[in-house]
Chain length 415, copies 2
């Protein structure tokens, strides 16, 4: 029949089948035999079957199942169709996390989260910029390359931590809520930092007006979404539950989550911040209880796709000769969040174990660090070697997080 | 941030939100006020907000939400990402229908279904070819153009009927099972007809070897899938339910459905035939009961996307000057299936109402007729005017089916 779309769909269904099957097998091995959350297995499966490893090997009569993308600067290691399913998955993950967060506890830990987020931005930024200068990749700590390396280290990808805490049922712990709230603030601060760094790198000076505008829209939108969502939550819940047609509650709830995610994205925030915030606003409603079970089915379908696809982005070959820089920066990326987030947490009375949990939870850079590095690559401010270093930082901080988080949460908090 | 993928995801989440929200509103209006199945509302919403209607109107700051595709010969009216979600939806629809079909009843009605399918291929083919010749679009009934018009009318798109019967809870009626079984056979016969027509149109003669090969692979694969699936169903069920990790049963079941759909597609069958057949094979297992509820959540998310996207394919402007041909062919398309499928059903003892139900249920051409027309367009055997006629046949038979089916199933069968 018509070759184009139908062949595309065949290949895509096959890719999905392989991703879903291996994700579950790896998850089973992790949980049953390794006492690790299944997300670690999904990441490793993604690395193994991804386009930079086995996926690029041609299968007779089919070609490679996950072909290596043409350009090494592309941030989509997979087709845009699979990438889309993965992104819907991470939106679902954060929306569900929002629904499961007690909003009163979220607000109670808001102040602590702000300090954790600010510490987790400032220290990694300084460490990153200093290292780029110290190892000779930039002429000063204020040089564009140094600023971008610093900005790269400020990123926090809360997806991994959310999933691990969800797997081990600790999302609503004091540390879990602080991490999620800090991730929201981190995202807002992150786009401010990126705006400043881009202004400095391109124009040579900070446009205060632009920074204020960008920050204003992002913060303004987020406040409107959260406060408006909370005020209207009972009305929204009643309206969406008034439909009689089968499956309306789940479909309409998803529509609302997607709408708020898209709006957040168009205001410069991460889509997942929109999903988390509207979930949070609806968390105490009847609707939240009604969609809990159906939502989990869609979650089990699409969330593993996100983490396998995240693993597929891993390209060990991208770093080139910058391996020493990579190793140093990775160590500093870990220490930057551990100390930058952990010390404020310690000062706020979380105790040493709590501070460790929060520091580890803020550690994964995920795709966010790569996006910042990608912007720098696009402006020609960093080269493909430093982009490779960003990949290494992402891989290590992302893969370290699940086992470290599990270990930190398994220990009981002393007195 | 990185413009490309992130902007794509924002737009896609917004499109999904609009599709899901309006699909549910239209479904609610249909069920509550018009006593029609919600799928009719979804189709109409798709037509209204699609790229050939309101969707092409630019929204300030965003551009058109569903831009008109570049080429009028494209069969994807929407982006490949939305199209993919829609296709996953229709695979889910038919997989669920398979799970809900009693396999013993399926086999009992197999013989009747074969006659219904053959009648529904032969009569529409003859009527189509004769009309193309009679109205001067082809020099004889054996001319390539006439053969393609005939082949176009043989198509059956079982998605609409499946969804309507599912909406009104009549999937497991004698007529429902006969229609689904006949659709399977229709698909196999359809690819044989298309192979013959392409051979005749291109080579001027039928390559018997090729036809036998194509038919052999399709029928052979289908038998292996169904018989193998039935024999292994208990083992598959036990294996997939042995996983302990959360959500494994639903994710692995989806993986199996996607795998069998992709395999069916690669053997020349429709992907949905693979999904239906493996669902049928598993219908009596413990697994089928375990995934019933979680599967329905994914269904409510993605199945409406398919029908809205199907509505979006509707392009009233494509027919050009061939409107008389269009009207005649549409009437014959309806009569061809009503009589071609209805008369065998009547002869087999279904009664007049049962025969009417089966004839109406086999009537929608959906995307299948368009695919055949697209192949003809690709070979240059039919022009864009006849392609427009195929669009008209598809629209009318697809939109007529839900109200006619509901009417036919609401009447009680006389003694």
């Amino acid at each position: 029949m018509e070759a184009g779309p139908m062949e595309m769909i065949n290949r895509l269904l096959l890719q999905l089948a392989v991703i879903l099957f291996l994700a579950r097998v790896a998850g089973e091995v992790c949980e049953r035999y390794l006492r690790q959350p299944s997300v670690l297995g999904e990441l490793v499966v993604g690395i193994i079957i991804g386009p930079y490893a086995l996926g690029s090997i041609p299968i007779p009569g089919l070609g490679p199942l996950f072909p290596t993308p043409d350009s090494s600067s592309s941030h989509m290691a997979v087709s845009s169709e699979i990438y889309t399913l993965a992104q819907v998955g991470v939106v679902l993950l954060l929306f569900t996390a929002g629904l499961e967060t007690d909003i009163k506890r979220f607000l109670r830990y808001g102040g602590a989260a702000a300090l954790v987020a600010l510490g987790g931005v400032a220290l990694p930024f300084l460490l990153g910029a200093a290292t780029a200068w110290g190892l000779g990749f930039a002429s000063s700590m204020a040089a564009p390359t140094a600023l971008f390396v610093g900005a790269m280290l400020t990123a926090t990808s809360v997806g991994i931590t959310t999933r691990v805490l969800s797997d081990i049922h600790r999302l609503d712990s004091a540390e879990g809520i602080t991490i999620l709230a800090a991730a929201v603030i981190d995202d807002v601060v992150g786009i401010i930092v990126l705006t400043i760094v881009v202004s400095l790198s391109i124009g040579g000076a900070v446009s205060v007006g632009e920074v204020v505008t960008v920050a204003g829209w992002a913060i303004g939108f987020w406040l409107v979404l959260l406060v408006g969502g909370i005020l209207l939550s009972v009305l929204i819940s009643r309206f969406l539950m008034s439909f009689k047609v089968a499956g309306a509650a789940i479909a309409l709830t998803l529509a609302l989550a997607f709408l708020c995610s898209a709006l957040a994205g168009s205001f410069g925030l991460a889509t997942i911040i929109g999903a988390y915030s509207i979930g949070l606003a609806l968390s105490n409603t009847e609707l939240a209880k009604a969609v809990d079970r159906p939502l989990s089915a869609v979650y089990y379908f699409l969330v593993p796709v996100f983490f396998v696809v995240m693993g597929m982005q891993v390209n060990f070959w991208a770093m080139g000769q910058a391996w020493l820089f990579g190793i140093v920066l990775t160590v500093l990326a870990v220490l930057g969040k551990l100390l930058g987030c952990g010390l404020p947490a310690l000062g706020l009375g979380f105790g040493r174990l709590g501070a460790l949990r929060i520091g580890v939870g803020m550690m994964p850079r995920g795709e966010v660090g790569l996006i910042v590095a990608g912007v720098g690559l696009g402006y020609g401010v960093i080269g493909s070697d430093i982009f490779g270093v960003a990949v290494m930082v992402t891989i290590v901080t992302t893969l370290l997080a699940p086992p470290l988080l599990v270990a930190a949460f398994r220990r009981s908090q002393p007195g």
